[in-house]
């Protein structure tokens, strides 16, 4: 027992897998427990925090009778398109910035500057420029992810071992081949990981994008629920965004595992 505790408190020490996942479950249950005590125990006014069961029934009801599914579809499309455009431009630009000094010199300062400007502050401008339609919502997602994504891809590319590039020259690689046959495959795991992280951020910009001038989507649903004092609906919206984010994260991780088996000794 004593030995076990010592093991748990040693940095970097591996623990049984079962214990690891149990720990996660316990934290989750504790969270539920606190929520339950606060609500079922009548400690907090249900107008501020509804019970878990109230949230669950509202969720089911919204799925069955409400627009929840179409809201999810609309929000997912906005996040996906905004993010895809950011990735489609950000990946090649980031790779070029990470490998060609002239590209870095040209773009790093301006991107490094813009990324500190909050995407939400651009919404009034965007509405002025392109109106209240879908492109405006997607642009907010784009602005929220593009600049970080590009800079992160640049860093990933810069970290490609210089030796690998030099040995490729001695093996006869032309400049174009260097990008396609060496730099891109070497940076690919880092690129996929960057996409996973920034796609997570894209979800967090969703509500911001749907606060103004939207008439559908999860963010809209949350804003409406706030107006009509429906905290259970708000929590359903938040939980669904969380679950969707988690799911896409898991998909990226699965793609990563399946594509880069060469990074693991057992090759599995």
């Amino acid at each position: 027992m004593r030995k076990m505790i010592a093991k748990l408190l040693t940095p970097n020490k591996d623990i049984p897998k079962k214990l690891y996942s149990t720990a996660g479950l316990v934290t989750f249950l504790l969270f539920l427990l606190v929520w339950s005590v606060l609500t079922y125990g009548g400690i907090v006014n249900p107008l501020f925090l509804p019970t878990p069961t109230a949230v669950l029934t509202t969720g089911v009801d919204l799925f069955v009778n409400g627009d929840l599914l179409s809201d999810i579809g609309i929000s997912f499309t906005r996040v996906l398109v905004g993010f895809l455009v950011a990735a489609l431009i950000g990946i090649p630009l980031g790779i070029l910035m990470g490998s060609l000094k002239i590209m870095e010199g040209a773009f790093e300062p301006i991107i490094g500057f813009i990324r500190y400007m909050p995407a939400s502050a651009f919404i009034p401008l965007l509405i002025l420029w392109i109106g209240l339609g879908e492109p405006e919502k997607m642009s907010v997602i784009f602005l929220g992810t593009f600049f970080q994504l590009t800079l992160m891809i640049m860093d990933v590319t810069k970290n490609v071992q210089n030796d690998l590039i030099e040995v490729s020259y001695t093996l006869g690689a032309k400049r174009g081949q260097l990008f396609t046959k060496v730099i891109l495959p070497a940076a690919l795991p880092g690129i996929v990981d960057t996409l996973r992280i920034t796609f997570g951020w894209a979800w967090t910009y969703l509500v911001v994008a749907e606060i103004v001038g939207a008439s559908s989507g999860l963010g809209y649903m949350i804003m409406q629920a706030s107006r009509f004092l429906q905290p259970d609906k708000i929590i359903v919206g938040i939980l669904i965004i969380g679950i969707l984010g988690l799911l896409t994260d898991m998909i990226f991780k699965a793609v990563y595992r399946a594509s880069f088996s060469w990074m693991r000794k057992d090759g599995l």
Binding site: F260, W262, G267
Partner: protein, 275 residues
């Protein structure tokens, strides 16, 4: 008529001065850095003939890697020129293969695809690539590992693949910068024999940098000793040990004599480097 005939006779009888495979002519290198200029290499000249195995010994920081990188075309000389078969080199080329001390295999490619990487760049057909890869896999003793990824190999195995990859491109010259420097002593000894076998099989010209005096003797036709920085050629020591060489030659009297000579040459320079 007569004159022409006489001329022919003369021309045909003049012993052909063999142009060396690799010629380094007055090559110097100055690095400019924030803290000033570093002369890494003083004007250095030497040559290597076709099929010769030359090892370079020298104190740390004397410019060994710099010379090799200039020959490889990865670094530009500040002065002088490098000639291969009498032609000046500019930049890297397929006629020079390189093996680095760090493991530079492509981690996303299998052993087989690593070996045939250069051929693929050239557009050689799959079948021919497979044949070449098979030949070199056998030469380096890694049959059965063709589907493995670099992460699944030991350091010694990785360097064998790196050697095979360089040879598969069929370069005229193989440049090796302390390729066994990161390996343990036993693996190193085995790698030396693997390399000698590969050299005898392929008859390449090899320029090989090492810190290890025994390694430099065991492998070489000639050992070139460099001075402390700024480096230049200090002495050329031809090694007249019999070929093909067995591991046992390391215990011979001649070997010990070479070792003593080289150790004292290196010691002189290392002391200079310190003072």
């Amino acid at each position: 008529m007569v004159i022409q005939a006489a001329k022919n006779i003369i021309e045909n009888n003049v012993p052909q001065v063999k142009t060396p495979k690799l010629e380094i002519k007055e090559v110097g290198k100055v690095f400019k850095t924030k803290s000033g200029e570093t002369t890494a290499l003083e004007k250095t000249s030497f040559s290597v003939s076709d099929g010769e195995f030359v090892t370079i010994l020298g104190p740390s920081g004397c410019g060994k890697s710099t010379v090799l990188r200039i020959v490889a075309g990865l670094e530009e000389a500040t002065s002088g020129q490098v000639l291969i078969d009498g032609q000046e080199v500019n930049g890297p080329g397929l006629d020079r293969g390189m093996v680095f001390q760090s493991y530079t295999l492509y981690p996303w490619l299998t052993v087989k695809d690593n070996i045939s990487f250069g051929l693929k760049l050239k557009g050689v057909s799959q079948k021919e690539r497979d044949d070449v890869a098979r030949h070199y896999l056998q030469l380096i003793g890694l049959e059965g590992f063709e589907k493995h990824y670099p992460i699944q190999l030991s350091g010694g195995m990785k360097q064998r693949v790196a050697i095979a990859r360089a040879l598969a491109n069929d370069p005229k010259i193989l440049l090796m910068d302390e390729p066994f420097g990161a390996l343990d002593a036993q693996t190193r000894n085995i790698m030396q024999e693997v390399l000698l076998k590969a050299w005898e099989d392929s008859k390449k010209t090899i320029l090989f940098i090492t810190h290890d005096v025994e390694e430099s003797i065991f492998l070489a036709d000639s050992v070139y000793v460099m001075t402390a920085r700024p480096g230049r050629l200090k002495k050329k020591v031809p090694i007249a040990l019999e070929r093909p060489r067995e591991f046992s030659v390391k215990g011979s009297v001649e070997f010990a004599q070479y070792k003593e000579e080289l150790l004292s040459l290196i010691r002189e320079e290392s002391l200079k480097a310190i003072n």
